[in-house]
């Protein structure tokens, strides 16, 4: 477990190399840093290595140390600053959406990692139900709250993008509606946790509610394919022009680290609160001392 964090950092570095450095080398240094690996394999490697790094950061965290999430937070902010610089000042405007397309460099990664945070909550809920280990309850609460913050931000960014492109701030289109349902469902689970005092009941009830609410996550993702939606379909590396890759991917790596750090910090808060809740009251300790 002690090696999880450095191993996660190494995997994250592999993801950044495959997903960002090679593309930056091609575009700005005119250097081939691909080591002969085809683009498709590099993209897949970046995705899998990034995901494995997050699993190691979260799974290997024993919720006793807050320095590691703070390191991830610092690196994440650096990536976002680089990505936003490229997104605002270097990347060209898009052919049809013009300057407003620059919103995509923050909106798309926020959407990805809102759904990932809720997926982490779902996995934590299942593990908690099987093992009744409160570390997983803390991770579940951390990822639900982070997912809610990201989903709220996603709706704000989407509204700001929708006004100049669709002419309205909001439309009850399937993608937007299912995202709003997801946001309110997870806000409801956080409210449920506030109202239940017994930690075991709170953990079990919110885990079950999380599993039920998670059903909406694939519906959000596939809504643009299943229904005739105003919202455009997902892009892939094949459908995004290369000048847009650097800001999108730099922000994606940065927001991924921010999401991971937020979950780790929030899980530590939950773990400390639980420790305080389960500690015997001072009077009981004093009485115990008299008996002994």
């Amino acid at each position: 477990m002690k090696r999880a964090f450095p191993l996660g950092v190494a995997l994250f570095a592999v993801a950044v190399y495959c997903g960002l450095i090679v593309t930056a080398g091609e575009q700005y240094l005119h250097a081939d840093l691909s080591l002969g690996i085809p683009t498709g394999i590099r993209t897949l490697t970046a995705f899998l290595a990034g995901l494995a790094a997050v699993i190691l950061f979260l799974g290997g965290d024993d919720l006793t140390d807050s320095s590691k999430p703070k390191i991830l937070l610092g690196i994440g902010v650096a990536f976002i600053l680089i990505g936003s610089y490229f997104g605002l000042f270097v990347a060209p405007p898009e052919q049809y959406m013009g300057e407003t397309q620059r919103i995509m460099y923050v909106h798309v990664p926020t959407a990805w990692f809102a759904l990932l945070a809720m997926t982490i909550a779902f996995v934590s809920a299942i593990v908690f139900l099987f093992r009744t280990d409160f570390k997983w309850d803390a991770r579940m609460e951390g990822s639900i709250e982070t997912g809610v913050v990201f989903a709220f931000l996603l709706c704000c960014q989407g509204a700001i993008w929708a006004k100049p492109t669709w002419g309205v701030w909001w439309d009850w289109d399937p993608r937007l509606t299912t995202t709003a349902v997801l946001l309110f469902a997870f806000v409801g689970i956080l409210a449920l946790r506030k109202f239940v005092d017994d930690p075991v009941k709170r953990g079990i009830w919110s885990a079950v509610a999380t599993i039920i609410a998670f059903v909406d996550v694939p519906i959000v993702y596939f809504s643009v394919k299943w229904w005739n939606s105003l919202h455009q379909q997902q892009s892939s590396p094949d459908t995004v022009s290369k000048p847009f890759w650097i800001p999108l991917r730099a922000n994606a790596f940065g927001i991924l680290l921010l999401m991971t750090a937020f979950i780790m910090l929030r899980a530590r808060i939950s773990a400390l609160r639980l420790k305080h809740e389960l500690a015997p009251p001072p009077l009981a300790e004093a009485q115990l001392g008299e008996v002994v």
Binding site: S66, T100, W161
Partner: protein, 43 residues
Amino acid sequence: MSGGVVTGGWSFVVAAYAVTAAVFLIYGVTLIARLRDEERRSQ
């Protein structure tokens, strides 16, 4: 909008980045403050 092409829009771009920065900053600061409170309480 002009001929199917969105024109202008910088104010929306700035607003989107400002909202993003504000949400991340506020949430990050509140998390660290809450964590410090809990750590102090558990000592």
